[in-house]
């Protein structure tokens, strides 16, 4: 019957062990059944570290439901000899023979000096050991008690091993998940600052309590971002990252191939991360000397665990892009390993490098785009000219839209706008070719249709693999105060004319796009415009801006343009661009607009082309 009870208890213990998150959770299932063993009047367990620090003692006495727990750590040097080897050891010692100096359990057993202490010592892990013992009287079957102790210890050790194993697996799982999440988050932004913020946000507080990121510039490390689990300390960290001389010197000293380094204790002396007393003194001293950098010591404000920092170099594609400094205010056991930090730093470095490269490329794209457009538009008293160019998505390559306005020998002015199919270097090359060919021809007085035909021929001769659309319009002032608008289109959206009375009409032209067939001629369309009438040329980025419901900006463009009656060319160009941008939910094409308002100043009032002035084109 007794054995059945113990068997049941042992079964319950195994079940508890399989669920336990820490070994102390087994205590109730161990102590009570042992105490129920005939002849046992006391169960006492101890837990030790390194090998003589008593962390914990728990005792349950017969007749009591509540255990007595002593959880104050103390050093018991004489207990070091009790430390077991790899296998549990069961011993029996008369209570009267226990030496208090090495046996803290003795004071609990003293009430029954005639009893025997049967105790099993066993190793829990490389850092600690434990004991489980019982006080028995003469009625006990000591051999059976020893057997039960050994069985209970087997379960405890197996439970502890399982917990450690599960902990390792969970930590590995969390590390893997963190690296995956970090990659995902960092890859979803190409903005350098946003990427850096995400690096830090993912790591804090999972990896560390604080993080500082520096980028390596030609003049040295530059602070860019700080994160801390506590917002108040985040402000202090930002100040440290920006201004602290100790950290700046440390980062500047690091060599390119240096691996992750951890600093703690005296290595942090004089730093804002030094432990409380020293940090406070150091800060006060430097401030008193007048050369303090003002950063408050992080460790001094909230430190229960010694502060540790780690510095990892951010290296991508063979070059150093910066460093990430983690600040830890947590137990040593919860510091990440070097391999993990290296892995995280590599991912962060790649993301940062991608963002930096993207920024360079974006700058190059915008710069190239600007060079494909005229830096200035001609201005006379007769024409109010303006242009607008909006890059649809800077992430994409150089767009193929172009425009220009060219004064002609006969006193007229030529407007041109076009769109090369596609983006990238090839499109950019064709854009340059098209604009300069048209500009040169029109400047020499070539009529719009001939200019387009000759551009078409040039494209065919160059075996250009892309098509392009364009529209060319000349505006010739007439003696009666009107101007003759002559328009030729090569597959391009038709220009609009905003009359001074607010009506809007389309300039109906049509022609084959450029670069498709060898011999193409273009018909001209002529009409008169009056004073304050405005001609608006644009690319399909404007008309094909599309709202969420599917409608195109083209459908409302005439109404929107009519509403701009009376405004100057610059306002019209800018306003239409902004309206299309606000309108569109999809469509990321570039938007180019060229606007010319005829002032009605008759010929002779201005001696074109010589008095031409140039003003910077609106972009």
């Amino acid at each position: 019957m007794v054995d059945d009870t113990w068997s049941s208890a042992l079964h319950r213990l195994w079940q508890a062990a399989s669920r336990a998150e820490e070994v102390s959770a087994l205590a109730d299932d161990v102590y009570a059944p042992l105490l129920a063993t005939p002849g046992v009047h006391l169960v006492v367990g101890t837990r030790w570290e390194d090998p003589q620090i008593l962390r914990y003692m728990r005792a349950l006495r017969a007749g009591s439901d509540s255990p007595v727990i002593t959880a104050t750590a103390r050093s018991v040097p004489e207990a070091a000899v009790r430390e077991p080897g790899d296998e549990p050891v069961v011993t029996r010692i008369p209570v009267a023979g226990l030496d208090d100096a090495g046996w803290p359990e003795a004071e609990l057993l003293r009430r029954t000096p005639e009893a025997t202490f049967v105790v099993c010592t066993f190793r829990l892990d490389h850092r600690g050991w434990a004991s489980l013992g019982v006080g028995v009287d003469a009625s006990a079957d000591v051999a059976a008690v020893e057997g039960r102790l050994a069985q209970a210890v087997d379960v405890i050790v197996a439970c502890h091993t399982g917990i450690i194993q599960r902990g390792r697996e969970a930590r590995r799982g969390a590390d893997d998940a963190l690296l995956a999440e970090a990659s995902l988050q960092m890859d979803s932004s190409l903005d350098v600052e946003e990427t850096l913020r995400r690096v830090a946000r993912i790591a804090v507080p999972a990896v560390a309590d604080g993080a500082l990121v520096h980028l390596l510039r030609s003049e040295g490390p530059e602070f860019v971002s700080a994160t801390h689990v506590a917002v108040r300390q985040q402000r202090a960290l930002e100040e440290i990252g920006r201004e602290n001389l100790w950290l700046a010197a440390l980062l500047a000293r690091r060599s390119e191939d240096e691996d992750t380094v951890f600093l703690s204790g005296p290595e942090l002396d004089g730093s804002p991360f030094a432990d409380t007393a020293e940090a406070t003194e150091a800060t006060e001293a430097t401030e008193a000397d007048g050369d303090g950098d003002g950063a408050r010591p992080v460790a001094a404000e909230a430190d229960r665990h010694s502060t540790v920092i780690s510095i990892s170099t951010l290296r991508a594609r063979g070059r150093v892009v910066g460093s990430i400094t983690f600040v830890y205010q947590r137990p040593e056991a919860r510091l990440p390993g070097s391999a993990f930090l290296r892995s995280l730093a590599t991912r962060a470095a790649l993301s940062i490098d991608n963002a930096l490269l993207y920024e360079l490329r974006r700058h190059a794209v915008l710069s190239l785009q600007e060079h494909l457009l005229p830096s200035q538009l001609p201005v006379t008293d007769q024409w109010d000219l303006s242009a607008s160019y909006e890059v649809g998505d800077p992430m994409l390559d150089v767009g193929g839209d172009f425009y220009d306005a060219v004064p002609r020998p006969d006193g007229s002015i030529a407007l041109l706008i076009g769109d090369v199919c596609g983006r990238g270097a090839e499109a950019a090359a064709l854009t340059g070719l098209a604009r300069h060919t048209l500009r040169t021809l029109l400047e020499q007085g070539t009529d719009p249709g001939t200019a387009l035909s000759r551009l078409n021929r040039a494209l065919r001769q160059e075996r250009a693999s892309r098509f392009l659309t364009a529209v060319v319009a000349t505006l010739a002032p007439q003696a009666d105060g009107t101007a003759l608008l002559t328009t030729c289109s090569a597959g391009h959206p038709s220009p609009l004319v905003l009359r001074s009375d607010g009506t809007v009409s389309e300039v109906l032209t049509g022609g084959l796009l450029l670069g498709v067939l060898d011999d193409v001629s273009y018909e001209s369309h002529e009409e008169r415009i009056g004073p304050d009438d405005t001609v608006v040329l644009f690319t399909d980025g404007l008309t094909e801006s599309r709202e969420a419901g599917g409608a195109f900006f083209e459908s409302i463009l005439p109404v929107r343009l009519a509403a701009l009656r009376g405004f100057d060319a610059a306002h019209i160009a800018e306003s239409l661009t902004q309206q299309a941008k606000a309108y569109r939910a999809s469509g990321q094409d570039d938007i180019a607009l060229l606007v010319a308002r005829w002032t009605g100043v008759p010929p002779g009032a201005d001696l074109l082309p010589h008095p031409l002035q140039l003003v910077k084109a609106a972009r």
Binding site: E21, A170, A177, Q185, R197, P205, V229, R232, Q329, P331
Partner: protein, 142 residues
Amino acid sequence: MNSDGLILVVEDSEEDTEAIQRALSRSHPSLHVEFAPRSHAVLDRLLDPAAPTPDLVLLDLNMPGVNGLTLLTNLRANAACASLTVVVFTSSTSSAEEDACYAAGADSYIYKPVNFELFQTVLRGAVDFWMTHRADGRRAAG
């Protein structure tokens, strides 16, 4: 790892509540965890003189009704709650949201990942920090 303490978790999602319960029972088995599934009742709970004051409030930002940010603002407007440590957690990585939380008086802003093991690690990091530094946090906030 820390002995007693009380955490009030303001979370409306049953799934997330279960995940937080599971995570904290593993990392901090001796902590008492109280759940407040409805944000509008939180202020009354915190002002109830008979109820223990939590050492830490974990606040989910994305809740129906009174959302986390509004609740945080309301808490900070009340002198009795001004010194509570409030950790906001969210699945968003928006920097504007982070700034808004700090402006509203959050002590921490933590990202809530989908992966449970990682969530447990993040939660453990935040709870460990604040349970260890609770006295310092209040002194500084005061």
